[in-house]
Amino acid sequence: MSKKAVADFCVVENSPLNSTNFLIKLKAPLKLPVFQPGQFVNVDIKGTDEIFLRRPFSIYEVDYKENTLSLIVKILGRGSKKLTEIREGEICSLVYPLGNGFTIPQKGEKVLLIGGGSGVAPMLFLAKVSGLQPENVNLLLGARTIEEHVDVKKYGEYGNLHFSTEDGSLGEKGFVTQHPIFKNNLHMFDRVYACGPDVMMRAIAKEAKAANIFCEVSLENLMACGFGVCLCCIEPTNRGNLCVCTDGPVFNINDLKW
């Protein structure tokens, strides 16, 4: 069987989560493979010549029984904007599964999962499948305002939830790196995982490196193909320029030249 596929999925749900994030659930025509948290799909967005390339989105949820997968789509540019206008019943082509996922933590380890903006998606997926006791999982989720936070109450069963907003409208005021769970308690964790804006991940990586804590981040470099042939999404690493799509998107911070 082929390792990767291109298939037409059917949109079974497209609902706004808040002012900028949408939940898009897609039903697969073929039995879905097992996805690792951190892996992504490359989505074809139809309807305008301005959007020529696919857009990558990390997996938020997979329901193997229903054969569906869900994405959190945050409006960032013309591609994501157009995708949020897709209607239930419409067809959407996906290339999948792409990239490498996060290193799954070992039993008994304490982990801190940090998601910023739409970067919460793979963190919630990781929390769900980590196999850890909820008390060993801490989820730190950041956004600009309370309106931009996705409702994640149901993730309370997988770990302790912590929030930060830049304006203080939910949880701690400031960036995720200013939250006490990160600022004061980083040494408590065996592993730190992060996905979100580049500046956020760089700030986290800096602290994790200083504290000598295992840390993986998921990068979002611009991609054309998503499967390692165009060499556009490269990230300079200690092993040379690597493709974020096939060598990542998850990287150990010790590999990066950050």
Partner: protein, 303 residues
């Protein structure tokens, strides 16, 4: 049963659908999706004498009906290819063609000599048209003298099929095509990307680290088609056409304009199955038009 085979120099290809260099890696990446032996040929990622890191990020910008790239020939060098990649891919049951690059004529010669030793590589594509490197590349391909010098030098050390990849960034592409034909090229492939630019108006910055890059995708198709037509009428050697081919109809148009075979490039980024779908589409077209052979399409434009 229609005959899809086409011939370039002394190689018979099972069909005219090939993948363009730089859009299908070293074939292994496509094997994750399907068996590449279905394809007419694969043109492998551009290879130089020594390791090249390529240009800085960002190297890509989406534009209307296409994209710019400024990868800058990132590759690990010909020795790495021979030692590590070639042994893994050499038994794929379709011709694998190495895309040869250099900053100097001597480098082109040295890479070619090394490729010449590889039994399973029946041809090279001499890239004198990469717009994204400071030295060599397109510098050779935009003048008849430059194109002649490289082609002649490589021809002297290479006895298998020599394909020269032409740049569209010239006043008259037929002059370059005729020049390389005169120096012994067995075929020409065209077109490489168009030198182009994209700007972020809000930030007032270029979208590429290199400021300019190469435009590809459906945006360039009509110009590429015109150039294939012009070159087909100017030379006797077979032409391999490419430039924005997205489906079988596009591919057939290139063949009608004179291409013996076609390369699918940027379309692969959208959907790696497009080359396979194009093969099926050509077959269906031939049957529908009661044609027996793909060869019947070559230059069959009715005027």
């Amino acid at each position: 049963m229609v005959d899809l085979t086409v011939k370039i120099h002394n190689i018979e290809f099972k069909n005219p659908v090939m993948t363009a260099s730089g859009t299908s890696g070293f074939a292994e990446e496509l094997m994750d999706f399907y068996d590449v032996s279905q394809l007419g040929a694969l043109f492998l990622k551009g290879t130089t004498l020594k390791n090249r890191d390529g240009n800085d990020y960002p190297r890509m910008a989406e534009t209307a009906s296409g994209m710019l790239n400024a990868v800058g020939l990132q590759n690990k060098g010909i020795d790495y290819f021979i030692e590590n990649i070639y042994p893994r891919i050499k038994n794929y049951n379709t011709p694998l063609i190495v895309n040869v690059n250099g900053s100097t004529v001597e480098e082109y010669i040295e890479v070619t000599e090394k490729v010449n030793e590889l039994d399973r590589i029946p041809a090279i594509e001499l890239n004198i048209s990469c717009p994204n490197v400071k030295e060599g590349g397109m510098a050779f391909g935009v003048s008849c003298v430059g194109a002649e010098v490289v082609t002649k030098a490589v021809r002297e050390v290479y006895d298998k099929t020599l394909i020269v990849k032409l740049s569209p960034n010239v006043t008259d592409i037929t002059e370059i095509a005729k020049a390389v034909e005169a120096q012994g090229a067995d075929s020409v492939s065209l077109v490489n990307t168009f030198l182009a630019m994209a700007i972020d108006a809000e930030k007032r910055t270029p979208l590429l680290s290199t400021i300019t890059g190469g435009l590809s995708g459906p945006a360039i198709k009509p110009i590429a088609l015109r150039m294939v037509w012009q070159v087909y009428n100017a030379v006797k050697i077979p032409v391999i056409g490419m430039g924005g081919i997205m489906n079988a109809t596009d591919a057939i148009e290139f063949m009608l304009a004179g291409a013996t075979a076609i390369q699918v490039g940027t379309a692969i980024f959208k959907d790696p199955f497009i080359p396979v779908q194009i093969i099926e589409g050509i077959k269906e077209y031939l049957e529908r038009h009661n044609l027996k052979s793909a060869k019947d399409l070559i230059g069959a434009l009715q005027l």
